[in-house]
Symmetry: D2
Subunit: 367 residues, 4 copies
Amino acid sequence: MGADRKYQVGILGATGMVGQWFIRLLENHPQFTVTALAASDRSQGKTYGQACAWRLPGGMPSYVRSMVIHPPHPPLDCEIIFSSLPADIAKKSEAAFAEAGYPVISNSSAFRMEPAVPLLIPEVNPDHLGLLDIQLREPGSNGGFLVTNPNCSTIVLTLALAPLQVKFGIEAVAATTLQAISGAGYPGVASLDITDNVLPFIEHEEEKIQQETRKILGLYRGDRVEDAPMLVSAQCHRVNVSDGHTVAVRVKLARPAELGELRNAFETFTGVPQSLGLFSAPSRPLIVRDEPDRPQPRLDRDAGRGMSVSVGRIARDAVLDYRFVALGHNVVRGAAGAAILNGELLIATGWLGKERKMKGSLADSSR
Amino acid sequence: MGADRKYQVGILGATGMVGQWFIRLLENHPQFTVTALAASDRSQGKTYGQACAWRLPGGMPSYVRSMVIHPPHPPLDCEIIFSSLPADIAKKSEAAFAEAGYPVISNSSAFRMEPAVPLLIPEVNPDHLGLLDIQLREPGSNGGFLVTNPNCSTIVLTLALAPLQVKFGIEAVAATTLQAISGAGYPGVASLDITDNVLPFIEHEEEKIQQETRKILGLYRGDRVEDAPMLVSAQCHRVNVSDGHTVAVRVKLARPAELGELRNAFETFTGVPQSLGLFSAPSRPLIVRDEPDRPQPRLDRDAGRGMSVSVGRIARDAVLDYRFVALGHNVVRGAAGAAILNGELLIATGWLGKERKMKGSLADSSR
Amino acid sequence: MGADRKYQVGILGATGMVGQWFIRLLENHPQFTVTALAASDRSQGKTYGQACAWRLPGGMPSYVRSMVIHPPHPPLDCEIIFSSLPADIAKKSEAAFAEAGYPVISNSSAFRMEPAVPLLIPEVNPDHLGLLDIQLREPGSNGGFLVTNPNCSTIVLTLALAPLQVKFGIEAVAATTLQAISGAGYPGVASLDITDNVLPFIEHEEEKIQQETRKILGLYRGDRVEDAPMLVSAQCHRVNVSDGHTVAVRVKLARPAELGELRNAFETFTGVPQSLGLFSAPSRPLIVRDEPDRPQPRLDRDAGRGMSVSVGRIARDAVLDYRFVALGHNVVRGAAGAAILNGELLIATGWLGKERKMKGSLADSSR
Amino acid sequence: MGADRKYQVGILGATGMVGQWFIRLLENHPQFTVTALAASDRSQGKTYGQACAWRLPGGMPSYVRSMVIHPPHPPLDCEIIFSSLPADIAKKSEAAFAEAGYPVISNSSAFRMEPAVPLLIPEVNPDHLGLLDIQLREPGSNGGFLVTNPNCSTIVLTLALAPLQVKFGIEAVAATTLQAISGAGYPGVASLDITDNVLPFIEHEEEKIQQETRKILGLYRGDRVEDAPMLVSAQCHRVNVSDGHTVAVRVKLARPAELGELRNAFETFTGVPQSLGLFSAPSRPLIVRDEPDRPQPRLDRDAGRGMSVSVGRIARDAVLDYRFVALGHNVVRGAAGAAILNGELLIATGWLGKERKMKGSLADSSR
């Protein structure tokens, strides 16, 4: 199974905000072809063109317009699942697809903290994919498995923390977020709630950041991931920005560092996606901005085609030693693009190949 | 000199955003009458109605419409100065008024950190007014003096810290602000910079919060104020909100406390303005909101006629022990209203009376 | 039944945006007391404090906090109904209340165009109340009746047209609206739809303006209202403004007029509410702004406590002879305040007295 | 002089909003190379990287970073001038360049209404280029000339009117605009003026639309352009949108038409840029949107890489027969892209060739 063949992809939650980004980002993807759409809402049975209120600039890609929307349970006419279902629905739906033998690459929060499920940022913890062996060894496995990407603000934060963790060690992180409205999906936040306003509350968000960050930065022990032993505190706010999560970060490092070393750690950071040249990988996962007023959502969210996180305002902090501001596109690097990059890593590392044969027999049985 | 007489007030910086709020808040004030307006810009010599682009809802109060705008140097036909001049102009102008014998109640940053100048929040550190004795004892004093109020975000933060400092002691504070555009004055922030955007930089703001907070919470030693020995870290952001600064706060207390004790400390907090019944004093300086999504600028900035700070999301924090979100109206409690409350405290504590006689002779000499 | 007694009011749609404004505006009303709340949603049976997500600055008035929410059908413990139910629910609910003998003062669109139902703006067409005789004379009448106020943008437009209609006659009106998000209720417009955007479509809005304007300005013929014979065209847009509808108007008058005459017609316009001194009536229904950049929503929507419409940019027009821009608060003058002013007019003109006796007997029968 | 060679371009007003778009759009242009930058402000003598506060997403193109900013008067090291200077400065500067022999392609309003200056939209009135002969025949001509593009909202409006004018004739147009903040340049509109607000006034804008539209749609008579004999009325508003002007249009046609004919006229409209395949020409100058809620700035401004105007809500109108809503990107199609397309048309039609020899000699003399 070479990188030169295209995988057939089914999208769960296709009509939502992240689903629309999946459809756009996969339109001309060299390794994935969208062959099936599914959604949990009343759009089932309609064509995508009829059912979906397309909210992204540029219009609905024509290739999905006449595709029919299926219910989100197997079988679906595809080899791989990309999912952005709501957590409660994902719990059942994604499990069903995995049990039926599909590799499920999910943006949902439903299974992120399951011990055997990789919570993956390809530049940060590609070794966590080893957890898939546990899933595949489970009795009754059909070769399906679950891989998840973190919460959108966690990704922005953790990508920026990764080089610090590697080079200096992190003892504590205090992150304060200013999150975009697209993070709540569509219709999401009511305009009356956010016009001329800040909302100091995003349900479950602080807990997700605090838990997920420690898992992602945790040590893969062959049979499990051991949470990183750092303290993580998150305070989350919704602000009147369409796309782009800003995270004000304070960190306490294990070893002292000069500011220039921090800056250098950010700027030289690369990972497996860069060395493998994955299609969606930005040339630089982190972009350092030295201007005093950057990063800004409007100017920096599209850096690296939405896959780079911009870091600025690196400075000493009176309380936690160091500080900086990180910013990334919450729906690209933080959701749809994250899942796609996970898929590309799965191909490059052979994990999609591993289940091919089983998938073949499944395909027969699911007819 | 009783509370029953009215003091004649001159406003420096009368055409600016804070100046307009001075004019509105003093329109029906029982103790102050605006008798003179001054500004540093090209509006001098024009009437206020001609010169000022009034930006506040409700229209320009008629009483100022035909008043002529003077240059910002003495003499001015008034007994007291309220100033919101830019710092560079204030440096010279406010000093000149103080030297000429006027009590100057300033919102400017020019003199806030001067050792002999009180940096006053009436509920927090009214005893710091004792510093005025140093000013009045200086050789050549005409009875004039300078009193300042803090930076707008510092006031919101420090009002919320005050009861914690008193009851539990504070070792460290990490404050992350989401500040309104009105804090930058008019025209201030360009719309292209803040529409669909966050600015992670407000010039000098982080330094101001870090310095001013320690001075305000510092101990008055009779001849000086000793900075509070706490660590203070501030990360400041401008967000697309018209009025109302939000501050996400993490604190490390000197003594452990139950969350209920924190909540109680906030809720029962009162100060000298409340016990004296000062005109602009809110009945509760701090209002605790228990809803998970409060405080919010649009819903809470006008609490206590803009003079109360709302506190919510009180919780334990993984890194600094405790956290909460504070919100206040940056132009009322954070600027014009702050200065006016300072003025009311000066009357109530007799400081305006103390300089009366000197002021009388000055008035003669300045003709 | 004098103006000195208080009428017991039931509010239908109490948890919605207009319902919340009813509750706020009636808090200290001299003639109305809220004694019952009803809503069509899942809030029934809960207290208002539990059920309502209060969205207005200043917090929920304490008087409603523990009131229980009833289903929106009779009987309700009140003498008069103020309704802001959605049109489809209002159709049945308001009819039921009217049949049960309640005077129903409705903000809903359900019955506005019914021939026997007054579509009322008290300054414009108070004589249309004569239609109530038709309702009361219907067989089986219990003394209940329906009075409606127009659509929010229609009110702003028509108040400004009224003096022109009286003085010069109107042949044609082309109105282009820029409407606030609060006009869509809560949650209403999704923030992703209106941030950095304009929506050129508000369902049924253009039709409503075109129909309602002609009815309101129509001639009361004793037994019916004859539509005004003018052409009315409306193009409607939603813009990113919280409150305040802006309407760009072009008019073709029947008789030529100098611009000064138009300005004078606006400025001197008053009506029955002003001459009767109704509690919610602004001293000036129309306020002329001569500044080139007014009216503006943020600066002018609260004029006359939200009950005045501001008119500016009066000029000749190349196509339709004259033009101007009108602006009013869409939820106060355009909805809740409109209904309340209708109620005050009903009291002042004796219409509420007329049904009192019948109402008394009804009260018995509905037990 | 073939289309295969590159022309050296100087940009006047390079640091402004339109100047930045010039720089971005010309980065990889096949026919133009930027060789000189000029500005009227204090940036002269600095490098562009130092002087320019780059406001566009994606960052400053590296090719301009070290170019030095010159004063806006000849000579400049280039063959052609693209100008977006403020009108008052353009008056002198552009005239000087034209007199010195440079073809000046201007976005400024300074010379738009000059009888001998083409006011050009390449799809609409390419024949107006004939006016250049008048300029070139003037005594003392060095071969330089002036070509202008219209005001940003005029372009959006007139592109949509053009097919109606051709097919049905237009007797009257009433246009109401909802214009983006970027149209005012940078810093432009103060955020306090437009947050939660509408401004019903843009200086000179209504006059520009009314005059320019009639000139653009006017008849070229060999030696002059005769204004189109239609009535044009414009009411202009600024709304809280970053980019994209929305125009609500009502038209009175000379000949009756079915709605389908109007729609067809819009949809099939093409012009010289399309037939010549000019680089910046969109395949469709007008894109018809049939959804009831389109066009919208956020979804449609980038259509045709910002060069297409979207038209929707085509309907009969009660007052002026027909109506529709047009939307275009005000800085691309409305300014920088408009000037570049003008430049491309000048190349394709040989006008830049015509002045080549004279330009050659000028180049010598200007050393």
